[in-house]
């Protein structure tokens, strides 16, 4: 740890640099976004070492970056960003993670807390019933291989065409819910088998569905443009590509382990296994990753449909009357091919975001038409007892971080420690005292996901705003939680 401390140089209030000579093999420096307080917890485990390891990837440009919610992951740190050249750089599945397109979706409503509070328990129960969650949960959608290939090729667009949701949902989804270039033939048989029963399921661990109330507005004009008002009930959905993505990544890591050796790429950690972006291994992985990303988008789209049904069942009005529109849906575990400017030159790069959110500035051509004046919407889920945040992207993020910002609160305590520290009942009592109702498949999840196992998302987003890489728009307070 002493090496970590000596290897870090403070650049300003919110940035720390790991010099290129910190470890042999680093090709670029590392930059960590954090304030002094957050850095204390970051420096406690191996996250800083991991930022340095990522800096060794062939073709990485500018710097190995870490967002303020950085913590120790496997291979890449969680909160890590790596931009590699598409000409002479690599693509690394470790820079995306097993849960491809793990992401967040926010729905708004015309309801206030007063409308929902009297039926909150019924509503949370209904959401829990409608949306399969937890270990061993079976989804309600049964598809054969052909059907699953359509999901893999078309993502949310498949779901909407099958009646799961509205066409307008696509307008409010990153990449319109369909990652381009998905090739279902590049995915082996196992991911299809594993994903077959899991489309439209929440999963477990840190995945959730929460009913939230808009608690504070920071930028009234932006909030109004997104249809968010103080006191409004919203729904936040956090899940990913389930077994389909986990198995696709598992399969390709074997391919990449072999490819790294074949292409003579030496790495400090086998989880960073990679192949040249333009190689057949690299391109096959990209086409398969796109399929997993699409599975995740279809998953959140189906869950959205059943969420609307739950509100209809309990509030006795249809979803249109309730105004249950998607504000935005984004991915925070993915690689994307994007153009960025480095030292005045426009370059096409492969941006690996492993627990980081894209934060395009206002006016970016890839933004939905209605979001163009605002910048890309960024959704930052906090822990289940504290606030989540809506942010927007900035020009500064485009300049400094390949348009990246944080993705969550960031874990602070291991699951084991969280379980030893508290009992489920105690966590539930704490939530109840704040007016939060929780339904979870098992008690272990409740203690593992206890609020104090996480950093305060409020601190994390303050650093993002301080560093100028995204700006706060609204704060959301949880009132109902569904956990796997």
């Amino acid at each position: 740890m002493a090496r970590v401390a000596t290897g870090l140089k403070r650049l300003d209030e919110f940035r720390w640099k790991i010099e290129e000579d910190y470890k042999p093999g680093m090709r670029v420096p590392g930059i960590i976004y954090a304030n002094e307080e957050l850095m204390k917890s970051i420096a406690q485990d191996q996250a800083v070492e991991q930022v340095a390891n990522v800096a060794m990837l062939p073709g990485i440009v500018k710097a190995s970056l870490a967002m303020p919610d950085i913590h120790w992951g496997y291979g890449f740190p969680i909160g890590g960003v790596a931009a590699t050249s598409t000409d002479d750089g690599v693509i690394s599945p470790g820079g995306i993670g097993f849960d491809v397109n793990c992401g967040v979706r926010l729905l708004r409503s015309r309801l206030t807390e007063e409308d929902v509070r009297p039926v909150l328990k019924d509503l949370v129960d209904q959401l829990y019933v409608n949306i399969p969650s937890g270990v061993g949960a079976k989804g309600k959608i049964r598809l054969d291989r052909k059907g699953l290939e359509k999901v893999a090729a078309q993502g949310s667009q498949w779901a909407v065409s099958e009646g799961y949701g509205w066409h307008s949902d696509l307008d409010a989804t990153e990449s319109r819910g369909k990652y381009p270039g998905a090739d279902p033939t590049k995915v082996g048989p196992k991911p299809y088998e594993r994903g077959a029963g899991q489309l439209g399921t929440l999963g477990s661990g840190n995945h959730f569905l929460e009913v939230e109330v808009v608690d504070k507005i920071y930028r009234p004009n932006v909030a109004a443009a997104l249809g968010l008002e103080e006191g409004m009930v919203t729904i936040l959905i956090h899940t990913g590509s389930r077994g389909f993505g986990h198995q696709m990544t598992t399969d390709y890591l074997v391919v990449m382990d072999r490819a790294s050796k074949q292409y003579g790429i030496s790495l400090p950690d086998r989880q960073l296994a990679c192949a040249p972006f333009s190689s057949s291994e690299g391109q096959d992985y990209l086409a398969a990753m796109a399929c997993a990303a699409n599975f995740a988008w279809a998953n959140r789209q189906c869950i959205t449909h059943w969420t609307r049904q739950a509100f209809e069942q309990i509030l006795k009005k249809n979803a249109e009357q309730l105004g249950l529109h998607v504000v935005y849906d984004l991915t925070h575990n993915v690689a994307k091919i994007e153009d960025h400017t480095i030292n005045g030159t426009r370059k096409t790069l492969c941006i690996h975001r492993k627990g980081a959110t894209r934060a395009y500035p206002p006016g970016h051509p890839e933004l939905p038409e209605t979001h163009k004046p605002l910048g890309q919407v960024v959704l930052v889920p906090g822990d289940m007892g504290r606030y989540s945040y809506v942010l927007v992207g900035t020009e500064k993020a485009a300049e400094d971080t390949f348009a990246c910002t944080c993705h969550g609160a960031g874990r602070m305590k291991s699951r084991g420690q969280a379980k030893r520290d508290r009992k489920a009942r105690d966590v539930m009592d704490e939530l109840a005292s704040k007016g939060i109702i929780i339904r979870a498949e098992n008690y272990a999840t409740i203690t593992e996901e206890a609020p104090d196992a996480y950093k305060d998302a409020g601190e994390v987003v303050k650093v993002c705003e301080g560093a100028g890489i995204s700006l706060r728009v609204a704060r959301l307070r949880p009132i109902g939680v569904v956990k796997g």
Binding site: G73, V135, D269
Partner: protein, 142 residues
Amino acid sequence: MGFFEIRDHTADIQLVSGGASLEDAFEQAALGLFSFITETKRVQPKSQYPVSLEATDPEALLVAWLNHLLYLHDADRLLFSRFAVQEITSTSLQAILFGEEYDKTRHVMKDMVKAATWHQVKISQETKKGKPWVEAKIILDV
């Protein structure tokens, strides 16, 4: 014979297993994995499932072994409580798994495991007090 232990890791968990042989270390790793997923004492070894795997080296074989078990668990909704590694080299493995299909009324599911990772995966083989000792370490994404 042997042991397994689940150690803390900020976002994930580390599984450490060991025994007098590579067979033991692999069997214990599998048992550790399923003890994390379910209460293995409730899983009856009703059916047998043969497994045959190949990989480039012992570490890659451990990753392949645990990931194959996760695949069977997740795709076919199977739970296992006993593992017999019958033949193992540094690049191949034959084993029989004992378990049954998940039954909501009898089984207790604990945590979900997404995958066995390659991060800091390590198998060490040494001699302790004149006897062979094998220890395997692997990080699971949960």
